[in-house]
């Protein structure tokens, strides 16, 4: 039964991560476009650093780093009169009240906490890629349109929200759909973050079972379980491809792009 719930875990992760990563990306892209130099540097550095390094490194790094950062901040707030150093040799020691989740919390709190750390990590990594795509898309919106908007007396902010943002999606969609495919294919890495996902259960349930421990003994079936996962991901990719193509057709309607022009000609 848990194996089927694990598919739910993966789908939930995708459903939650995609909007958050998009928000991170939007933030990064607007920061990189900003007129304020330090903000621009932050945006560009965010995009450059995350993209240059294998993202599995980030997955392994952020989970510990975020965990320690949160506990460190809570430690500073909740136990101001703690006098021992936090790093004692190879140990990371904070006071009991600063532990997250608290030692006496129920099991589901631990699972939810682990899962949210995973979501945040995915969002940070994929946010950088989304930022890059959106940054390019914002620049692809024909410049004459922004100038026209400003000639009509719109402020910088108005022209950004009313002209650039509605139109950038058609330019961003090829990049974003590619990113979605990669995000789907990155979900098995959840396993490395310690979440009990489908990879975990495929390994657990597929391993050989002896009659002593289970009613359904079988030999080593892990190959078949992973084969099933392979098929699951292939179907998922195919469905996404079809859906994204439909969205693209919808978004192109009436746009000043080659595809939009072709649509207009076909309709005439």
């Amino acid at each position: 039964m848990n194996m089927y719930w694990a598919f739910g875990t993966v789908l939930t992760l995708l459903a939650i991560t995609a909007p958050i990563a998009l928000a991170f990306g939007f933030g990064g892209a607007t920061a990189a476009r900003s007129n304020l130099a330090p903000l621009r540097w932050i945006g560009k550095a965010y995009m450059a650093i995350v993209r240059g390094i294998p993202d599995i490194v980030f997955f392994l790094f952020f989970v510990i780093a975020l965990d320690q950062a949160i506990e460190y901040v809570r430690h500073k707030i909740k136990c101001p009169d703690w006098d021992q150093p936090i790093r004692q040799g190879s140990d990371f020691v904070v006071c009991q009240a600063a532990k997250l989740p608290l030692g006496n919390d129920p099991q589901w709190m631990h699972e939810v906490y682990g899962f949210s750390l995973a979501v945040l990590t995915f969002a940070i990594v994929f946010g950088a890629f989304a930022a890059n795509v959106l940054f390019g898309a914002m620049r692809a919106v024909p410049h004459a349109q922004i100038e026209t908007a400003e000639a009509y007396g719109m402020t910088h902010r108005q022209s950004f929200w009313r002209i650039v943002v509605p139109q950038m999606w058609v330019y961003a969609l090829p990049g974003l759909s590619n990113l979605w495919m990669v995000l789907i294919k990155a979900t098995p890495l959840l396993f490395l973050l310690g979440v009990e996902d489908i990879v975990y259960w495929a390994r657990e349930m597929g391993g050989s079972k002896t009659p002593n421990f289970t009613d359904y003994p079988h030999a080593d079936w892990r190959m078949w379980y992973f084969g099933a996962l392979l098929v699951f991901y292939l179907c998922f990719t195919k469905v996404s491809e079809v859906v994204l193509d439909r969205i693209m057709v919808k978004l192109t309607r009436g746009q000043a792009t080659a595809a939009g022009e072709a649509q207009r000609k076909a309709a005439v």
Partner: protein, 268 residues
């Protein structure tokens, strides 16, 4: 132990020379640099071999996909779809357990259950699929005039392919292929996290980095070291591929040559 001794002891630890025991306490910065660097040997081994073998297979698959005959096209399309549509992580797991089952029946498969050969096979097939798609795209965008000129000279078959189609395809595909090479090196970090066992703790760079992070509970030292190594390697790849790019485009006047634009992206 001085740093020089550490390097002498651990520099080739990942391929089985030098001290068997990994350091267990009092980790020095030098030990971390040396061991993680030693692990890079594996990343380079997987990356270089997979690139070389994958290049040849990819050319064949791309020609197959561009072939009008369905007997050549369909298998190539399916090969590309299966390997591009599913996560590399799951492919590693599936392949490992597949080889494990095969080994039970035919002992001849036993070398494939080790990372050295088994993971290499998976990486080769995976990169062939991605590269074949790039090459196929390049084949489709070969200027019509080039092939028409070849026909006008009466070239057919092998000389036509070798002197006209293949060089033009490489020229067009090269920037995208450079990106693919960078991803491939990033993807090599997955090997020892996906089923394949690290025999006698001989692992790749990420294996040692996570070893240190687990032991010291401090991710802020080993992972940045690993990131540094990977950035260095990415720069090397870009340098070598840039040289080949210059050689491929040597007939063009230098001002017209397109500079390689590197857009490193994501794992699969």
């Amino acid at each position: 132990m001085t740093c020089y001794e550490t390097i002498a002891t651990y520099a080739f630890r990942s391929i089985g020379y030098g001290e068997r025991l990994l350091p267990r306490s009092d980790f020095t910065l030098c030990q971390q640099f040396t061991l993680i660097g030693s692990g890079m040997i594996w990343n380079i081994y997987f990356g270089v071999l997979a690139l070389l073998i994958g290049f040849c297979i990819a050319t064949l698959v791309a020609m197959g996909k561009a072939n009008p005959s369905p007997y050549a096209r369909k298998p190539a399309e399916w090969f590309i779809f299966v390997f591009r549509g599913s996560p590399l992580f799951i492919q590693f797991f599936f392949a490992y357990f597949l080889f494990l089952s095969l080994k039970g029946v035919y002992p001849i498969f036993s070398p494939l259950t080790s990372a050295t050969f088994g993971a290499l096979v998976v990486l080769v097939l995976n990169t062939s699929a991605y590269t074949a798609e790039i090459f196929y795209g390049a084949l489709q965008s070969i200027p019509k005039g080039d092939t028409e000129a070849a026909d006008a000279y009466g070239m057919t078959g092998w000389p036509r392919f070798k002197r006209v189609i293949w060089p033009t395809m490489l020229r067009l595909a090269w920037p995208a292929y450079t990106n693919e090479a960078i991803f491939l090196f990033h993807a090599t970090t997955l090997v020892f996290f996906a089923g394949f066992p690290a025999f006698q703790q001989r692992g790749d760079a990420l294996y040692y980095a996570s070893y240190f992070a687990d032991k010291t509970f401090n991710p802020f030292i080993p992972y940045p070291i690993l990131a540094g190594y990977f950035i260095l390697m990415t720069l090397c790849v870009i340098g070598i591929f840039g040289l080949i790019n210059a050689r491929l485009n040597r007939h063009l006047p230098s001002a017209n040559r397109k500079r390689l634009r590197i857009r490193p992206q994501i794992i699969r």
